[in-house]
């Protein structure tokens, strides 16, 4: 009897821990990186935003490049609503100068930070480009994954990042918090 009571207690404690764990969001600690002009940006600088969109991007990845226009449009549509957009380049072979030229060519108006030694990519466990993390002002991850479900803009059926931002801006919880898509592996230092 005592054994079954103990077992029940252990199961209950495990269940409570499981439920608490399920509700816990991944949190990102503050970090500082230089943009391609050498200007420092900290996550804390964007704390007053309604949401912070971290976009792991690349200059040479065809999948990331397929989203250049969509990233510009997203920034245009949501910046005025209080959403901050930050590009992060963690690829070891893509220089700050290359990033600068790429940003100019594609008319990116959001900052692009150089993540030397892929420290931030490791911290967030980002693995591909493009890959998105949407944070709240407490730097908790509200959405992680793709921009939408097709590299071909005319085939998009699910605009996942827009859906997440719309929910956040209307004070609702994000319905689909995790999505996946093919992308180029982030080229890390060994």
């Amino acid at each position: 009897m005592l054994n079954s009571f103990s077992r029940m207690m252990v199961v209950s404690v495990l269940l409570v821990l499981l439920l608490l764990g399920a509700g816990a969001r991944k949190k990102v600690s503050d970090f500082t990186l230089d943009d391609y002009n050498g200007k420092k940006h900290s996550l804390a600088d964007y704390k007053s935003s309604k949401a912070i969109v971290l976009m792991f991007i690349a200059t040479q990845c065809p999948v990331s490049n397929a989203y250049n226009t969509r990233m510009v449009e997203l920034q245009k549509d949501y910046a005025s609503k209080g959403v901050a957009f930050i590009g992060i380049n963690s690829n070891k072979q893509e220089s700050a100068e290359e990033e600068k030229n790429h940003a100019k060519e594609h008319e990116f108006v959001f900052p692009i930070l150089k993540d030397w030694n892929n420290v931030i990519a490791d911290k967030l466990q980002a693995s591909v480009t493009p890959e998105i993390f949407v944070l709240n002002s407490g730097f908790e991850v509200l959405y992680h994954g793709r921009i939408d479900d097709s590299q071909r803009e005319n085939k998009v059926a699910s605009k996942d990042l827009r859906a997440a931002l719309d929910r956040i801006l209307s004070g609702k919880s994000v319905e689909v918090e995790e999505t996946k898509a093919f992308g180029c592996t982030i080229k890390r230092v060994q």
Partner: protein, 185 residues
């Protein structure tokens, strides 16, 4: 007249023989691969839907499956291909299927995939993923996989995964893992 008939039947027989080999090499059923016999102009890239992928991974007929997922736009995938070809040749005649799955769009077989395979001189069987949603294919391969390419996995003859690598691997690494899977049988 008799000589002409003999010549005709000789060519007919030869054509039959070569025709059979090309069919089993590339577009044929899993497990029927024959090494090194097909000209690259015969490349076939069949569509792989959820059902066919599941069958490929589960119904092993006593063979190990080495699966590589790649795309024509993926630079490290292209760099990995010479090692994959070497791997295919190294395990020729042994119970190992080396199979590639392209993550390009399934309407890009003629325009991108086949030209890429011709350029690389790829001798092993290649499919193109044909799923309604990209995420369904990613999860069917491995639920923990982000979708980063290339990715390689080894499945033992019982249909259980023994190895999974995201990112570029080497011939030595893959060979060692296949041999380890063989040793564990």
């Amino acid at each position: 007249m008799v000589f002409a008939a003999r010549v005709f039947f000789f060519f007919l027989f030869a054509a039959f023989l070569f025709g059979c080999r090309s069919g089993s090499e590339r577009g044929g059923k899993p497990g029927l691969a024959v090494q090194d016999s097909v000209s690259l102009s015969d490349i076939e890239v069949a569509k792989l839907d959820a059902q066919r992928l599941s069958r490929l991974m589960r119904e092993r007929n006593g063979k190990i499956l080495f699966l590589n997922i790649w795309a024509t736009w993926c630079a490290p995938c292209a760099e990995e291909f010479p090692d994959l070809t070497k791997l295919y040749r190294a395990f020729g005649g042994r119970p190992v299927d080396v199979v590639g799955i392209s993550a390009d769009f399934d309407d890009e077989v003629e325009s991108k995939i086949i030209p890429f395979l011709k350029k690389q001189g790829v001798p092993f069987r290649v499919y193109v993923a044909s799923f309604r949603r990209q995420q369904d294919f990613i999860n069917a391969i491995d639920r923990s996989w982000s979708g980063a390419l290339p990715a390689s996995l080894i499945i033992n003859p019982q249909g259980k995964r023994s190895f999974f690598l995201v990112g570029k691997g080497t011939f030595e690494q893959f060979k060692k893992e296949i041999e380890k899977t063989m040793g564990g049988l």
